[in-house]
Amino acid sequence: MLRAGALVVVGGAAVPLTGCDLFDRNDNKPPPPDPLEPLAAESAALAARHRAAIAADPGLADRLTPIADAHQAHADELRRVIGRPAPTGAPAGTPGPSGAADPADPLNGLREAERAGRDNAAKACAAAPAERAAPLGSIAAARATHVEALK
């Protein structure tokens, strides 16, 4: 019984290896997404989020515009580091920055989003190859200063 069961499992696992994948390389397949794509999407989303907060309360413009601009600069820099255009189609993998909008204290949600973003950038910096470490370090540090500037 055990043997038979094991054979069934092995057979099942072997199925994906048998089709045309093994020998017929499909060169039209797009390359896998760059590991920095989520971070680039997060920078764009953070920029949009600060601009939305400014639109809702123009009194915040002086404070939030430099931060929104920094996130846009980060998105541009990450695009340059990735070295190819943003993936076409819907940005399905775009992580919405966490931190719910709080109408009573709009800065609170932004602070939470910056904190989460800082941690994501720090993780990306730790995992990055040497040539990407410095720009990612600056982005992590910038997001940390945004938390401070929103206090």
């Binding site: 430099p66 600069a73 980060h74 730790a126 370090g137 540090a141 200063t145």
Partner: protein, 149 residues
């Protein structure tokens, strides 16, 4: 302001960061006497943080068998520090400058060493932001802390 020649290895990068920490500690001695109350206390806290980084670097470099650069008796100031305004300006510049050396260490480090360098870069950037707030300078932040301009 920011290191002009890129370090070529981890030892050189961390030795350069150590020289930046020496200079920062020295500068806070000049800065602190021009400040009062909360700002003076903040200068003392900042100086203590730079001393802790210095001590950790000396330990790390000497236990790794690398060159440990020596501190100097004094450092050239970019301008005379004569009052609160010039002291706060120098404090911002010292933190941005030191951030640049830690940023330059990132490509030459991995694992725990890189995390330490990132923590140091982030702490410098945070102190620069707080000093700008104390000085009433806006914006409080720069887009790429430590990046050569």
């Amino acid at each position: 302001m920011i290191p002009r020649t890129a370090p070529t290895g981890p030892g050189e990068a961390l030795a350069a960061a150590l020289t930046a920490e020496y200079a920062a500690i020295w500068a806070y001695g000049v800065i602190g006497v021009r400040l009062a109350d909360a700002a003076r206390a903040a200068a003392r806290t900042a100086e203590a943080a730079h001393r802790a980084r210095r001590d950790a670097l000396i330990l790390q470099l000497s236990s790794g068998g690398g060159q440990v650069p020596a501190d100097r008796a004094g450092y050239a100031l970019p301008y005379p520090v004569t009052d609160r305004v010039s002291a706060l300006k120098l404090a911002v510049e010292v933190e941005e400058r030191t951030a640049g050396f830690w940023r330059a260490a990132l490509p030459h480090t991995t694992g725990a060493d890189r995390n330490r360098a990132l923590a140091a870069l982030t702490d410098c950037a945070l102190r620069a932001t707080r000093w700008r707030r104390t000085a009433g300078v806006t914006p409080l932040t720069v887009p790429f802390p430590g990046r050569p301009v």
